[in-house]
């Protein structure tokens, strides 16, 4: 892949140069060059994430392997994050005189980025929990697929599928509407509706005695009253572009990386069910005048557009597979509602198409969710690692050593 080649050479370049030349004066020009290169890479990478064909945006099912907002698209996004982060670190940390971190504007910017790191970690965790829920949905959809694939398609299997799909849809709706994992919503989100498939006459709502117990705040949540949208807001709040002609060039990459942090976390929150998303920002402070800013703005507009649609329709998130799953599930439930044995050939063919689509979605989830989760974990560990490295540098400045507390 060109992306990684690119990066490898960039990292080599920087580390070799920094190791060879210790004279900061001579480095100045090359510094500027490195900085330009970093920004260019950021711009290129995010541009690559845009759909190839600008005029036909969302409604054309691109032949591209990873359509916008699909699981594989998000995996690419995380790749981009990891690449940018690695280059950022090389640019800002390797061979630098730590003293400049204690001078303005870095003395203010560096703590900001540490703070953003911390908040990003919580978002990684929240999103991981969200993916667990998506896993669960996939299992429900899989039940429906298996049931519908039975031949001949009979009442029992159709009822079975309907039950699973209704649970799926209810869970998706609850997760979105109540938009919070606490209190009862969480448990309902995570459970099978009783006899929602309506088998027999006892389809009445009699789960009061079943889901008993004093349940509160029990799913794998981040913490009580933690809110993804608030965290994003906090991360974005102090994101200010450096004024022109800041003395040290490092303010620019730090600003760029900060923006990437906010953007990527924001995109994850918009895509994946996540604790408390109401009021999620739809507009991030992105720089129009920088080349990478343009790429981010283009993506942001797409995400924001989808998110607004989502808020109107009440779907669960931008994740492409999830949206499709919801739609197909609805269609299949409609089919199941009107099903009578034996079904007409025509209808069977129709539904077979839908089932095939659902099977495909399930396959993609089956293949993609776990790697996506692992990748998020990788991002998590990377952020922790980098934060520690920055702290090490700050340690070296010495001013960090607290007095002996005698």
């Amino acid at each position: 892949m060109p992306m990684t080649d690119n990066q490898g050479s960039f990292l080599n370049r920087i580390s070799i140069r920094r190791n060879q030349v210790s004279n900061m004066e001579n480095n100045h020009e090359q510094d500027i060059e490195d900085l330009e290169l970093f920004q260019k890479h950021v711009a290129d990478r995010f541009s690559d994430l845009l759909p190839n064909d600008p005029p036909s945006t969302t409604d054309s099912p691109a032949i591209d392997q990873s359509p916008l907002f699909s699981i594989s698209w998000f995996r690419k996004l995380l790749d981009v994050f990891l690449c940018c982060e690695a280059e950022f670190k090389a640019l800002v940390l390797i061979g630098r005189d730590p003293v400049q971190f204690s001078k303005p504007p870095l003395d203010r910017l560096v703590p900001d980025i540490l703070e953003r790191s911390i908040k990003s970690l919580d978002i990684c965790n929240a999103v991981t929990h969200g993916l667990e829920l998506v896993h669960h949905w996939q299992k429900l959809a899989q039940i429906a697929v298996t049931a519908f694939e039975q031949k001949p398609m009979g009442d029992g299997q159709v009822r079975r599928a309907k039950k699973a799909l209704n649970t799926l849809l209810t869970s998706m709706m609850l997760d979105d509407k109540e938009n919070n994992y606490h209190a009862k919503a969480a448990e309902r989100t995570w459970s099978f509706g009783r006899r929602s498939g309506g088998g027999g006459g006892g389809a009445g709502n009699n789960n009061k005695d079943r889901t008993n117990g004093t349940f509160r705040s029990m799913s794998w949540s981040v913490a009580k009253s933690w809110s993804a949208s608030k965290q994003i807001q906090a991360m974005a709040s102090n994101l200010v572009a450096p004024r022109g002609g800041e003395p040290t060039g490092l303010a620019v990459p730090i600003y760029a990386m900060g923006t990437i942090f906010v953007f990527v976390m924001w995109a994850l929150v918009a895509a994946i069910p996540c604790q408390e998303r109401t009021g999620l920002l739809t507009h991030l402070p992105l720089p129009r005048n920088l080349n990478w800013g343009q790429a981010l703005i283009a993506l942001q507009d797409k995400i924001a557009e989808e998110w607004k649609k989502k808020e109107k329709k009440g779907t669960t998130g931008l994740l492409d597979e999830m949206q499709k799953m919801e739609k197909v599930a609805q269609n299949l439930v409609d089919f199941a509602e009107n099903f009578q044995f034996p079904a007409e050939e025509e209808k069977l063919e129709e539904v077979a198409e839908q089932v095939a689509e659902m099977a495909e979605i399930c396959r993609k989830m089956e293949e993609g969710l776990t790697p996506l989760q692992q990748q998020i974990r990788e991002v998590f560990h990377r952020i922790v690692r980098s934060r520690a490295e920055v702290l090490d540098v700050l340690d070296q400045i010495g001013k960090m050593s607290p007095p002996v507390p005698y």
Binding site: K151, R160, G213, G398, V404
Partner: protein, 709 residues
């Protein structure tokens, strides 16, 4: 052909036993519930079932045995002779036998591709109707009958029917391409689905009906005998259940929150679900219920979830409490919760070890990751000396307890957890190493310019020595931490923290023989020494500097002596070296303070031509008195808090001064005329000197006059 015979046989049988016309005209007034609770003679049940069938056929949305409809669907398929037989079999037992025979016939047919499968016999439909009626009994009304309310017999026979239905469906499905089988497959499948739906809900409801055992570490619940658990088979179950659950003993061999009996039931239900092909449903229900239960457990153990962000902002006091709770929770998870959870999964899915393993791993993994996240969040907090010990506690917990999980998990999960825990541990390690080097830096940087009055032990010395005493108690762990960290440092050349080699030349040789941790301890001690030495220079009086060094040195040695851990760390050689340093200060002090005084008592220069030079002698006495007064005045305000050191010092001073004074006095005192002159120059008797020496280093600036004799 065999198959045809079977069909005919069964048809005749069913005709024989099934006077359907009679039954339909003879509705039985018996209510359904009564029927289910006492399995009754055939004729009674027949009529009851008739009623059910009637009910069913009018029930909207539920398709059952509407003959007309079937005919309409298959107008040209006369082979499916559903219409000419009655849907009302006489006896479930008999039909069951027929079904079993049919299943076995079909399976014998299996390998034979040539043979055409037999027509579906009528008793298949009869069986479907009967089982459906049973399900309707249990699951029909607004309030389905709870599984626990079924008698053991009913429960058993229900599961038997369900099992038979599952098998029947499987057999029929071998011929799913046969058009004539389609209806029956759909029919049987429909019944199975209802049965599965009922079982699934009951399975779920039983799962949710757990009781979180009281925190096992301090529970007294294990008093009730085990046997009680098993005695409750057929009595009033609801009451029995709760009391049994409450008395669930806390031994490891217990299931988490369920009685053994309930677990057996769950096993049966899960088996039925899996046999019916509803494995995914079964697993998901189980997973979600147990996930919730485990969450509650964590909560009950006192583990509260905090975002990483919150942990960073928390006050150390509160965080310390959370860490304590975390350790308790972690211990409980690894010692009790996980093994009992594993046991539960193994028991519920006894016949499917791979499912049990997967489900358990999934559940526990989620839990462990959460717990590890907290440790990670703590490791990320701002470093501070006082945090070291809690960090060590977390580190040790992870190190010692995680291996317990190994045998519970599938390899891949165990590896993942190990990797995660190793990462967390190394973060904690980094933090600890950094705390240590920060401590070193801050000792180095401590430049408090105010000398401690009286040359007493400096607070820095006290703090560091007490700190090191605790540090030494964690010696083995810290050894490990420093070793691991050294390896990380070497592997990771991009981060260039070089705390380890700041003072390379001077100490290289000794340091090389030491472990990294010992080297750090040595370094802290050396830094402390250097700092104290610098502080000693703050005193203008050299004697007071020596006293200060003696005081602090003595304090350090006492602390080391008092703690076998540090003692072992620093070694005898080091200790001896320190002691000799101390003696050196002692000597310096004696020389500085008392050497001068003794010069006054020098005999030299006093005898001129064999006669005592009186004016010089007078001068000598005068200066001795003045000097001694001065010493006494200043040095009784100095401090030596260590009693032993104090008396050692006094004794050594007395030994040095008194004999000299005594001899001086003996030699020269008679030179003066007794009376006024003697009184004027011989101010002190040797005993007075001794008394005054004993007043030194008391730390009280006593007004001189009061003590005057």
């Amino acid at each position: 052909m065999d198959a045809e015979k079977v069909t005919q046989n069964s048809e005749t049988k069913s005709h024989d036993n099934n006077p359907s016309d009679k039954q339909q005209e003879n509705p039985d007034p018996l209510p359904l519930k009564v029927e289910t609770e006492n399995p009754s003679p055939p004729d009674e049940s027949q009529s009851a079932e008739a009623e059910i069938v009637q009910q069913l056929s009018t029930d909207d949305g539920v398709k059952t045995t509407d003959d007309g409809l079937v005919q309409e669907d298959d107008p040209n398929n006369d082979e499916v002779k559903v219409e000419d037989c009655s849907p009302l079999p006489p006896d479930l037992g008999k039909v069951s036998e027929e079904i079993d025979q049919f299943i076995s016939d079909l399976s014998n047919l299996k390998g034979d591709n040539e043979s055409k499968p037999p027509d579906v016999p009528v008793f298949v439909e009869q069986f479907a109707v009967l089982v459906e009626a049973k399900i309707e009994d249990y699951d029909g009304g607004d309030a389905p009958i709870k599984w626990s309310q079924l008698s053991q017999e009913d429960a058993m026979s229900f599961l038997e029917f369900v099992d038979r239905i599952s098998k029947l469906l499987n057999s029929l499905c071998q011929f799913s391409s046969e058009y004539k089988y389609a209806y029956s497959i759909s029919r049987v499948d429909g019944v199975l689905q209802r049965a599965m739906s009922y079982i699934e809900e009951e399975f779920k409801s039983i799962l949710y009906d757990y009781k979180i055992p009281d925190s096992d570490f301090n529970s007294d619940t294990s008093t009730k005998p085990n046997k009680e658990t098993n005695s409750s088979s057929d009595t009033n179950q609801d009451a029995e259940q709760s009391s049994v659950a409450e008395s669930a003993p806390s031994e490891d061999n217990k299931f988490p929150g369920y009685t053994e009996e309930i677990v057996t039931t769950m096993n049966k239900l899960s088996k039925a679900l899996i046999a019916g092909g509803y494995e995914v449903e079964c697993c998901q229900v189980y997973l979600i219920a147990r996930r919730k239960a485990l969450e509650e457990c964590l909560h009950k153990l006192g583990f509260e979830k905090h975002s990483i962000d919150d942990v960073q902002k928390m006050h150390w006091d509160s965080l310390e409490r959370e860490i304590t709770a975390w350790i308790i929770t972690f211990k409980h998870c690894t010692n009790v919760l996980h093994s009992s959870e594993r046991k539960l999964a193994d028991a519920v899915f006894a016949d499917q070890p791979s499912i049990a393993e997967k489900i358990f791993s999934n559940l526990s993994r989620g839990m462990m990751i959460q717990l590890l996240n907290f440790a990670e969040a703590v490791a990320m907090t701002k470093r501070a000396a006082e945090k070291l010990f809690k960090f060590l506690d977390i580190y040790e917990t992870l190190r010692d307890l995680l291996p317990l999980e190994d045998k519970l998990f599938v390899v891949s999960y165990a590896d993942e957890l190990k990797a995660e825990a190793t990462l967390t541990r190394s973060r904690l390690g980094e933090s600890m190493v950094s705390i240590f080097s920060e401590l070193e830096n801050s000792i180095q940087a401590d430049s408090n310019k105010t000398p401690v009055p009286g040359g007493a032990v400096h607070p820095l010395t006290r703090y560091i020595m007490n700190y090191l005493k605790y540090v030494a108690e964690y010696r083995d762990t810290l050894e490990q931490v420093f070793r691991e960290h050294q390896m990380i440092e070497r592997a990771d050349s991009t981060t260039g923290s070089d705390f380890d080699c700041q003072n390379p030349q001077a100490q290289n040789e000794t340091l090389n023989k030491l472990s990294p941790f010992e080297a750090h301890m040595m370094k802290v001690m050396d830094l402390l020494d250097a700092n104290l030495e610098a502080k000693s220079r703050l005193y203008k009086d050299t004697s007071l500097s020596s006293i200060f060094m003696m005081n602090n040195g003595r304090y350090i040695l006492q602390k080391i002596k008092g703690s076998p851990e540090i003692n072992g760390l620093m070694g005898d050689q080091w200790y001896r070296k320190r002691s000799s340093d101390l003696r050196q200060y002692h000597k310096t002090y004696q020389r500085e303070t008392w050497g001068k005084l003794l010069q006054c008592l020098n005999h030299e220069g006093l005898n001129v031509n064999g006669k005592v030079n009186k004016p010089i002698l007078k001068e000598r006495f005068k200066s001795f008195n003045a000097l001694f007064d001065e010493i006494h005045k200043t040095q009784s305000s100095w401090v030596i808090s260590d009693e032993q050191l104090q008396s050692e010092l006094r004794v050594s001073i007395s030994n040095m001064v008194i004999p000299a004074y005594r001899s001086f006095l003996g030699r020269f005192s008679q030179t003066f005329t007794p009376g006024r002159q003697t009184e004027k120059y011989v101010k002190y008797q040797p005993e007075d000197i001794e008394t005054h020496i004993d007043e030194l280093f008391d730390g009280n600036a006593t007004p001189w006059g009061r003590k005057k004799l």
